[in-house]
């Protein structure tokens, strides 16, 4: 075995060394070939210098002869020497971050070219792809790029949130309170059992987390790789797309550039629900028929003071729990100081940032401090050394009930309005209802939020160092070593308290949890790039390993006093520690070829070995290929004054599911050794218990997705109008599904992972732009629209279904969604309502609904045990009620500038999706006495028959509150996501004010979520997901989006 491995390893080295030698030899042979061509064509040698707008030389600038494959790169002094085929050739000079220039030679042989810093539109010229960059013109896959200006426009914590609505096919949904990561999907849901998170790569480092810890102000650009040909270079992890973040480097112009950005603002809740006040609550309790049995409402009790010594009685109390729970004008602020500069040898960018966001609900906030330094140093013509280092610390205060079954929002709906929030006579200072005395038992949500302390402190370090070796001008080697260390410390504390009712703790539980993750990355990369006449060839070979070590420690205990909030001296101390690891080894190869910039071809393959699979299943191959045709380079279009760009492209490839969400041993159902206890009485007081809770599946393998992408890029009138259209089809034939084991197998129905499903996403994306870049009034309009259709092709058996999500409080335990072959994934599932029974005769003449009475909801008889309506309303009558998947999503971004003023307006919307509004089940379900929505007062009675609200009846025997079309609502919305109005002070004013201290000063005001157009009745139509991917679109009573207003300044020194 060892010997075999050694031989295998040596073989790989030999092949690599052989390849290098070959490339070397090929490179050596090349000048000869060019010389021959020169002679034949009588080429004209042209020399020149390329500088930036301040006159500093730019190294590495691409200088090409338009329409040919002839190209050079400037040297350290910015010089180039190129052989132009004719005196009338046109040179194309391009460089990352600068506007590309085309210079007709018109007989000139010596040039001085000054490149201008690129406006955001010109960003398109070069795109960052995996393990390198590529000219946009030669890209054959689906890549969308987002500029720094766009990423920093929204006042949000993370880069991921900043991408909402900015990229066709990229869907970002807010999912929780400040500091919680949003849901990000590229081109829809790709997996049934796992989150569809894309892979995030920051400066070449593939992260195992999201982007919540990264400061958007450090970002140079973001590139989103959407199809197989671009993403497959990340192979095993690329099914959900790849988001590549590139951070800022310094410039080489010899000047220090200092920037200062700061903004502050306030956020407020957008919407309020109509809930019952005290008088209405009494009316409702009467309608439910329970008021008589509730002792609270007896006159002596209801007219008693709310606590000893209070002058107010319960009858006089009218608590608006929404006003108490939500916070208006919550602070939102952020700032960043950046310093960058450099010369011909070294350059750097360093920055420090701060972000703080308070929640619009009690006890929620997020704060982050971050620091970055990036630099690179040209040691010699051959060696360049560079490094990126980023650290951040963050503090999040969160409300654990926001992810529990009964969220704070469920509780605030349910809280009786006659109960006061505070009660100074109680330990802890809050008051709550007494279960049987009030006939109701919600938990005071203000108490839950404020009584204890729940915090996550995170430390994140991402650092990498690389050495570039310019072996030849066409052959470069890069060796990278990087480390990502993450440490999350979660602290939970609840003091001893008693609110007189449901809220009580007799000891103070203290819990510390520390989760640390260490990821190490080694990348060895060889890039070859060479132009032979009209042939341009590029090749990349990569050997990479990435290891992960995860350490989880938890300590819990109870304090008998409120004076100590740590574990010192606590009782019942328990500790646990577990360690997990994984290891990924990759071999990557990619070749690019283009002929005369017209015919483009790219192929890549990645072979990955990943430790998380069972022996024998560890390795898999992920190939991809793509072709492109730049019609604008053809003779018949070249001279066109109208069409400035026209490219057709197609790609096909294979990608794998991002394993971040799979855990480290997904195939294994191990023994939960000592995973439980049973307290026998006797000598062995608490012996350990070991059990198995699943079925091991050693055949589990990588979920692979076949992806086809066809795209066209179209530009007219010098790209004033641009259009990019994409069609894609993504199909997975070995979808990993948690095959639900029958509950009788004895694993609580948890299920076993197996590759048994098939799913397809088909979609189109359209990106339209109009760019007016000249004159005093400049503006830019970008519209995005994307539509995706999802279909589950097959599951483990033709009749299999995956009912998912249920909650006894929300509809009585019915599954929220179902997944079946032939339908879209996780459609909403339940009965269809058919009006209200108006009288006993209608009940008698309708399909049997045992226990139905006049005033109850009639449900439709759709099927039965034999697949046909059987006159009985039962589980066979459940059907598809809608889908969380929108028909299309769209956004419109308009940015304009007039002289010193600039403005931008950003609309974002989704259309045609449904939401399961479970807070409305809480408000209108009427199955038990709780506070409710005012609509319950319009419940059916024999004298109030013209209503769609069924009768009020405790116990809900007809199950009016079951999951049905009653709770499904149209989730379409159009949101004015962001408006910005800015003013840049004229230089003359600045000089007179500050001398030359301040070079640039812009002030702006902005608003987020200013307007929302929606028919959705809940707090917020932007619905995240609580329990995993199969409850998307279920509103569990989540933390809603806020409306905010900001003021900010941006200064340059």
């Amino acid at each position: 075995m060892q010997y075999y491995l050694l031989v295998k390893k040596m073989k790989i080295y030999l092949v690599l060394i052989g390849a290098i030698s070959f490339l070397h030899a090929a490179a050596s042979a090349k000048p000869m070939a060019i010389k021959v061509l020169e002679n034949v064509k009588k080429a004209i040698p042209v020399t020149g210098v390329v500088t930036d707008d301040s006159g500093k030389a730019l190294a590495g600038v691409s200088v090409k002869v338009k329409g040919t494959g002839i190209g050079q790169v400037t040297d350290e002094q910015g010089r180039f020497r190129i052989n132009a085929p004719s005196a009338n050739s046109v040179l194309v000079i391009s460089y990352v971050g600068f506007a590309t220039q085309e210079i007709p030679l018109n007989g000139l042989t010596e040039l001085t070219v000054q490149l201008k810093q690129a406006a955001s539109g010109a960003l398109n010229e070069v795109v960052v792809v995996g393990y390198g960059s590529q000219r946009r013109a030669t890209v054959t896959g689906a890549i969308s790029s987002v500029s720094a200006a766009t990423v920093t426009a929204l006042p949000v914590a993370g880069i991921d949130q900043a991408l909402q609505g900015r990229v066709a096919g990229l869907n970002v949904t807010n999912n929780g309170s400040p500091g919680s990561a949003p849901l990000v999907t590229i081109r829809g849901i790709s997996s049934v059992s796992f989150a569809s998170d894309p892979l995030y790569v920051v400066d070449g480092f593939p992260l195992t987390t999201g982007l919540q810890q990264y400061d958007a102000k450090d970002i140079e650009r973001v590139d989103v790789l959407k199809d197989a040909s671009t993403a497959a270079i990340y192979g095993s992890r690329a099914t959900n797309g790849v988001i590549i973040v590139t951070t800022k480097k310094g410039s080489r112009n010899g000047n220090l550039n200092v920037t200062f950005d700061s903004y502050a603002g306030v956020q407020s809740p957008i919407k309020k629900l109509d809930l019952l006040n005290t008088q209405q609550y009494l009316q409702y309790a009467t309608n439910l028929g329970v008021i008589g049995s509730i002792d609270r409402f007896k006159s002596a009790n209801f007219n008693a003071p709310i606590y000893a010594g209070a002058s107010q009685t319960y009858a006089q109390t009218n608590t608006d729990w929404q006003d108490e729970y939500f916070i208006k004008n919550a602070l939102l602020t952020g700032g960043n100081i950046g310093l960058s500069g450099g010369n011909e040898v070294s350059r750097f960018h360093t920055s420090a940032g701060y972000f703080k966001q308070n929640g619009i609900a009690q006890a929620l906030n997020f704060e982050r401090l971050n620091y970055r330094i990036n630099s690179d140093h040209i040691i010699s013509k051959v060696f360049t050394f560079g490094q990126n280092l980023y650290t951040s610390v963050s503090h999040q205060r969160y409300d654990p009930t926001l992810t529990a079954n009964r969220t704070a929002i469920v509780n605030l709906i349910r809280m009786p309005p006659y109960i006061p929030v505070y009660d100074p006579t109680k330990i802890g200072g809050f008051q709550g209802p007494i279960t049987s005395f009030d006939g109701s038992d919600p938990i005071n949500p203000i108490e839950t939020a404020l009584i204890g302390d729940n915090r996550i402190n995170s430390f994140n370090l991402l650092g990498s160092a690389y050495l570039d070796v310019n072996i030849l001008s066409s052959l470069k080697f890069r060796s990278t070593f990087g480390v990502n260390y993450l440490n999350n410390s979660t602290y939970n504390y609840t003091p001893i308290f008693f609110d007189g009712g449901t809220g009580v703790s007799t000891t103070a539980p203290v819990s510390y949890r520390r989760q640390s993750t260490l990821v190490k990355l080694f990348t060895q990369q060889l890039n070859y790039d060479k132009t032979f006449d009209k042939h341009h060839v590029g090749a990349t070979a990569v050997f990479e390993t990435q290891s992960l070590n995860y350490n989880n420690q938890i300590e819990t205990g109870n304090q008998p006093t409120n004076l100590i909030k740590t574990l010192t001296g606590a009782s019942n101390i328990n500790a646990d520690n577990s360690v997990e690891t994984n290891f990924l080894v990759s071999y990557v190869g990619r070749i690019n070829y283009d002929y005369a910039g017209k015919y483009l071809f790219q192929a890549s393959i990645r072979r990955d070995g990943l430790s998380i699979w069972a022996p024998g299943k560890k390795y898999a191959n992920f190939p991809a290929a793509s072709i492109g045709w730049k019609l604008d380079q053809e003779d018949f279009l070249k001279s066109s004054k109208t069409i400035s760009e026209l490219k057709l492209r197609a790609s096909y490839g294979l990608t794998g599911i991002n394993p971040n969400s799979l855990g480290n041993y997904p195939y294994l159902a191990p023994v939960q050794a000592n995973g439980a206890i049973f307290p026998y009485v006797g000598s062995d007081n608490r012996p350990n218990s070991s059990f198995v809770n699943g079925i091991t599946n050693a055949n589990l393998e990588w979920e692979k997705t076949k992806q086809l992408n066809v795209g066209v890029d179209f530009g007219v009138l010098n790209n004033k109008f641009t259009l990019t259209a994409e069609f894609f089809k993504r199909q997975t034939d070995n979808l990993m599904l948690v095959v639900p084991t029958a509950n009788s197998i004895g694993y609580l129905g948890t299920g076993t992972l197996d590759n048994v499903g098939g799913m397809r996403n088909t979609g189109v994306e359209l990106q339209l732009g109009y760019h007016k870049n000249t004159g005093d009034f400049k503006y830019d309009i970008t519209g995005l629209i994307s539509a995706i259709r999802n279909k589950v092709l097959f599951l483990n058996s033709p009749s299999a279904s995956i009912p998912s999500g249920s909650d006894p409080d929300l509809g009585g335990g019915d599954a929220f969604t179902n997944t079946r072959a032939g339908e879209s994934v996780q459609y909403f599932y339940g009965w269809i309502t058919d009006g209200i029974f108006q009288n006993a005769a209608q009940v008698a003449s309708s399909p049997i609904q045992s226990n139905a009475a006049p005033g109850d909801i009639k449900f439709k008889d759709l099927s039965g045990p034999n697949g046909v309506p059987d006159g009985v309303i039962d589980n066979f009558d459940r059907t598809k009620l809608g889908s969380f998947l929108p028909n299309f999503t769209y956004s419109l971004n308009y940015s304009a500038s007039y002289k010193n003023f600039d403005a931008s307006v950003f609309f974002q919307g989704v259309q045609g999706n449904e939401i399961l509004n479970t807070p409305r089940i809480i408000m209108e379900g009427m199955s038990r006495l709780f506070n409710a929505g005012t609509n319950v007062l319009n419940a059916w009675t024999p004298s109030n028959t013209n209503t769609d609200m069924p009768r009020a009846t405790t116990g809900d025997l007809n199950r009016n509150a079951r999951i049905s079309s009653r709770w499904i609502e149209d989730g379409s919305y159009l949101r004015l996501k962001n408006v910005i109005l800015g003013y840049t002070l004229p230089t003359t004013t600045l000089t007179s004010l500050s001398g030359s201290t301040i070079k640039r000063l812009r002030v702006f005001v902005s608003s987020t979520n200013l307007l929302t157009f929606t028919g959705y009745k809940g707090y917020d139509p932007e619905i995240g997901s609580k329990n995993g991917t199969l409850t998307n679109g279920v509103d569990f009573g989540q933390y809603p989006s806020a409306r905010s207003f900001q003021f900010g300044i941006q200064a340059g020194f």
Partner: protein, 513 residues
Amino acid sequence: MKRKHIYVGILAAGIATTGITVSCNKELETTNQNRPTTATYFGTASEIEAGTNSIYSAWKGFNLVAREWFFIHDLRSDDMASGGSQLEAPRRQILLGVVDPSNPVLNSVWNALYVVIQRANTVLDAAPRATDNTAVVNRCVAEAKFLRGWAYYELASQWGSVPIYTKGAISPTDTQPKSPAAAVFAQAVKDLQESAAALPGKSGTTAGRATKAAAYAMLGRTLMQTGDYAGAKAALLNITTTGADGYALTDRYLDNFEEETEFNKESILEVVFFDKGNNNFNWGSGSGDDPNAELTTVRNQEYNPVAWRNLIPSDRVLNEYENTLTGATKNDPRYGYSIYQSGDTYNKGLSVITDGDQGGDASKLRGNTVKAGWRKFTLIYKESKEAAGFHPGGNNQRIIRYAEVLLMLAECEIEAGTLPQAVTYLNQIRARASVAMPAYPTAQFPVTTKADVVKALLHEKTVELAGEEIRNVDILRWRKKGYFATEPLSWYTAAKEFLPIPQSEIDNNPKLQ
């Protein structure tokens, strides 16, 4: 040119270094360091014992004895009534006979019973591999069979026809079709017979583990349910009344429901709960998992007359106790031992329970409106209303006590036609020191005919065992025997005799159809 060779050399060296750093294939062979696999675990007696412990652990989880198991029994019996509007809708629906296949309470119990069966099967499948301590392994095998038998008894009596598993599933497709209720009872009988033969007496094992007496008592219950009264009698008579392994009635009736007197001489089977004093309940795991889990039961909380009061004694139960106002010669003291009524003292005699303390619905006792709640298994006999506001307790759930064995024997004798022997058993119950009710026959309860003795049995079983999760299964058996003059459950129809199989089981077990 020479220089370039140097670079190539550097490059090759770089790659080679990386290669040495990373011996990839070895690194790919990671194992879960925190968890062993079934291939290696369960190979020793101590591991088999740990596996056996996990069956008990699931048994005590809130899907079973710590919560939903007693709800299923109580909601489907006429021992209980709703305490008020605070009773959750899915529970109220079962109480009123409206049981939907997605009802979460019934789903929880079904799932957890099969967890018990699966964990028992894991032990039984692996036991032959563990050869290091045959005595321990044999005892564990007997305990696993006992717990599996108990689970099949519960399944057959609540659901009727259900799938039977006697081996652990290896693949998700290893599901079983429904077997008739008779076959499910037969499996329970087989398991209980085998375990009864092998289990030690209570003096030979740790309190809380299954014993020979527990197995015979369960076997008696099960055989009676199948109509085999002779077999049941034989099994029950194997429960000895003498010696270290003997059982007898406690003098003090209340000893059977209080925390201080767990594992007394009357107690045959208990599920152990333990209060760590932190007022928590393991809401997180229905099967009671997590090594640091709370070990409390929420039973005393659910029925607590001064706190949640979700279920209260039904009017039938309240009115069943003999009282001088209705012609008895003595008030049955078990009324006050089982039930709190306004005016009673609690909290070690320091507090008096009032109508105001008992929120929610009232009851009718002999035509009067009273507020009453359960005393059995609640902890307010020794704690204040404030302390009981939320306090899941450590009071063990008694599953079988010797009084029930006597009442089962009485029923066997009735069915065998030996009425005097039946009356003797009934009178043993009434003669308990702290009860001391006049022996049968009484004016209200003559014992001349079989019908008389049946009536006395039904009466005695309610006043002795009300609220102890026995009545519901008795109803199933007595209804068939024609013991009832009127149907005890208002909602009963033949279609509702058994609970429906949960929807999630129907969805995922293709062999059910």
